[in-house]
Symmetry: none
Subunit: 272 residues, 2 copies
DNA sequence: TGAAAAATGTTGGAATATCCACATTGCTGA
DNA sequence: TCAGCAATGTGGATATTCCAACATTTTTCA
């Protein structure tokens, strides 16, 4: 299916399914809730068609269905991010909740972009702990912005849409001009050789965060154990603690304890 | 209200109005949408009571009302922005569409945060014009990120949740280190004395954008004509063009033509 | 204590949304 | 070209929500 809509603005061939879908997702970035009837009106299609669209999007996890309409998905802003968010969602949530318990009023933090750190940010916002956060992630800034308690400082740089975060030299330089108590980063892999990251540009950001923080926390779900990504972020010994959902396998465990890394295992969450 | 203060003093742990309300707001931090009936169930009160609660919270701008329930301003959409977004939505859309037509491949832009410039960004993303954009607005970065054609550079600074944008000295300094072909800014008011802005911190950003761009476009809906905000952003003569939804009243019109400002009136567009 | 005010509950009708079955349209490929 | 399939529209029965007016309970305060 080629991109067709724009060549014939005037004739306005009605948008196809895929076009409507992306338009709906985009509209949701503008407002948190849209009615079915409103969308039907906008696209000049029947409500049933819209209903089928949003049901499909809802099943794919890209938005939330509500009586009378749709609301934006809670767990991220992008397909990429969303797809990953859906995997191991419960694990990430537990890890995020556990990490948020560490934060005390007045702390200064750096938080890296990623799906696990995003969960961390959600709980941080929920707790309304007064703190100052430096981040390169847009979803994290938006989420924490809902907490009136947090002061948020955003990095500059090139915006990487697939990760909803900024990267690049400007980001690194800006981070380097700040110093915080604690930094929380995710990673693509955690192995005996250290933390590693696959996303281009992220490794440099993570390294800089580590270098300008007193203590260093890595939020890692068990699926990352033993994996190695493209770039190495740092050795195990650079970490203060890792927050994980399950015990690492023995070899990794040994390496972690040898490197004097504290291992915090997120408890099976009881709700509320 | 005074009655709220009263109940706060006495602090009885029974679920009162104020307690329910804060609980609703808390719940919304973890989920984007909650049904009225669900809340009524949770609090063991009638749906009408919940309805009164959320209506009042909605009027206070603390959440968004939806058919069947409430939704938070997930994704950086804030009461402020949302309320304004809904007013004159059609007008803003027309203005944004018209402005997007001005952009040519390879242009470098600065785009200010705001509800009208947000519409501009939507159409810019839709057109997939290859260009480079510097912005201080998170929603604009997110929206433009959908267009693979645009390169997006985000400002650093303090995150202002009510506007979903960054402001402050870092933002200004960063902007000042860039130069672009065109800048697009919104404003709180446009009068014979010039452009003005009410949001704290925005005026400085707008000024800086104007100072580092060859040409200057203001996107203004007719409701702003004759209004003046807290801080003056610039005189009329600093503007290259204004893009509006209707003809300004004669006195303003005269001032604009005297200042050699081009006036682009967005055509009544069909809906998409 | 007792009356006024506030908060909450109840009711019924209007509006809206959902769901389902089936008709229709419009692509696509043999 | 035409059959087949996917996408979309239609209509009606059902469920949910909304809204406004009024009844009831609870709280406040003189």
């Amino acid at each position: 299916m080629s991109l067709l809509a724009k060549s014939e603005e005037n004739a306005r061939p009605r948008l196809r399914k895929a076009d409507r879908r992306s338009q709906i997702l985009q509209d949701l970035k503008l407002r948190p809730h849209i009615r079915i009837s409103e969308l039907a009106d906008q696209f000049r299609v029947s409500t049933e068609t819209v209903r089928r669209d949003v049901d499909e999007l809802g099943r794919a996890g890209l938005l939330n269905r509500a009586h009378g309409g749709v609301s934006a998905s809670a767990h991220g802003h992008y397909p990429d991010l969303d797809a990953r968010s859906r995997e191991c969602f419960a694990e990430r949530e537990r890890i995020g909740r556990r990490a948020a318990m560490l934060i005390e009023a007045g702390d200064t933090l750096m938080i890296d972009g990623g799906s696990t750190t995003m969960q961390f940010a959600r709980f941080l916002a929920f707790n309304e702990t007064p703190c100052t956060v430096v981040t390169n992630s847009l979803p994290i800034a938006l989420t924490l912005g809902r907490s009136s308690a947090a002061e948020i400082i955003l990095c500059p740089g090139e915006y990487l849409a697939s990760e909803s975060a900024v990267v690049g030299a400007d980001a690194v330089e800006y981070l380097a001009s700040h110093n915080v108590d604690r930094c929380f980063i995710g990673a693509s892999g955690l192995s005996t050789t250290g933390l590693s990251e696959s996303v281009r540009g992220f490794a440099a950001v993570k390294k800089t965060m580590l270098a300008h923080s007193k203590t260093h926390y890595a939020l890692i779900d068990g699926g990352k154990f033993g994996k190695t990504g493209l770039s190495r972020v740092g050795e195990l010994s650079t970490l203060t603690s890792i927050i994980v959902d399950r015990t690492p396998e023995p070899t990794l465990m040994t390496a972690l304890t040898d490197a004097n890394v504290e291992i915090l295992i997120a408890p099976e969450g009881e709700h509320d």
